[in-house]
């Protein structure tokens, strides 16, 4: 079975999905990410879906589940790069990706993660 590589940059994990996802591959990514977040003590996960030509309810659920798992493990997930046609279709399909943070592209996603991280460490300093 195909596996999606997970790159690490500091305390951020970076995933770029570049294949037409089979359901099993999507489920394996969920497990792999949970393990990597824990091992790397990651605080951020960036998922780039700019190469995905569709997001159906299965992939939508995977993105929501990953965000949920990451949150419980103390990491924030940002999904970036969704194509406009995919966004239009997703909303019409009835999926709103509740609880999933999104950003237009990788650059803005990284900015968002850094901003959130700084906010958190600021809170920690104050308490």
């Amino acid at each position: 079975m195909q596996r999606i590589p997970i790159l690490q940059m500091g305390r951020t994990l970076l995933v770029t999905i570049q294949v037409d996802l089979q359901d099993q591959t999507a489920l394996a990514l969920q497990d792999d990410l949970a393990n990597r977040i824990q091992r790397a003590a990651a605080t951020g996960v960036l998922i780039d879906i700019s190469a995905l030509e569709i997001v159906d309810s299965f992939i939508g659920r995977m993105l929501a589940t990953i965000s949920g798992i990451a949150k419980v493990l103390g990491a924030t997930t940002v999904v970036v790069g969704m194509q406009p046609a995919v966004a239009i279709t997703l909303v019409e399909l009835g999926l709103s990706l509740d609880g999933v943070r999104t950003a237009l592209n990788v650059e803005r996603g990284i900015y968002l993660l850094r901003h959130l991280d700084e906010e958190q460490s600021h809170d920690l300093d104050e308490s």
Binding site: D20, L21, Q22, D23, Q24, E53, I54, V55, D56, S57, F58, G60, R61, Q83, P84, A85, V86, I88, T89, L90, E92, L93, G94, L95
Partner: protein, 138 residues
Amino acid sequence: MTLTSPDTTTGEMAIRNEADIVLARQQVRRLTQTLKFSLVDQTKMITAASELSRNTLIYGGGGEMVWQLVQQGIRQGLRLSFVDRGPGIPDIDLAMKDGWTSGGGLGMGLSGSKRLVNDFELDTAPGKGTRVTITRWK
């Protein structure tokens, strides 16, 4: 399966495993591109095919996707049927509800796909299998 000649207007492919869902998406992409659908219309039809072929596999125990290039006056379109000989759907109204699922899904497959296409037909009865036919016009 590929379009072998321009006058090939119909065909079918088996949906027996997860890899077939990916193949069904790719086939629908080729067909919508042949018809010169806009990118948004391509994406909607492929997404609907992805949802319905997964239903065929998971709830119907496998089956076929039948495709047909259709013409009505000057309108051209793509019609897809997802056919299985599974248990059928006992309560159609319930199955068409957003968020209702008998499996482990989100319950968006049937109701969501209907919103992505122009025509949607559901033909099912307990013990008689299920046939979902969708059409999207260019």
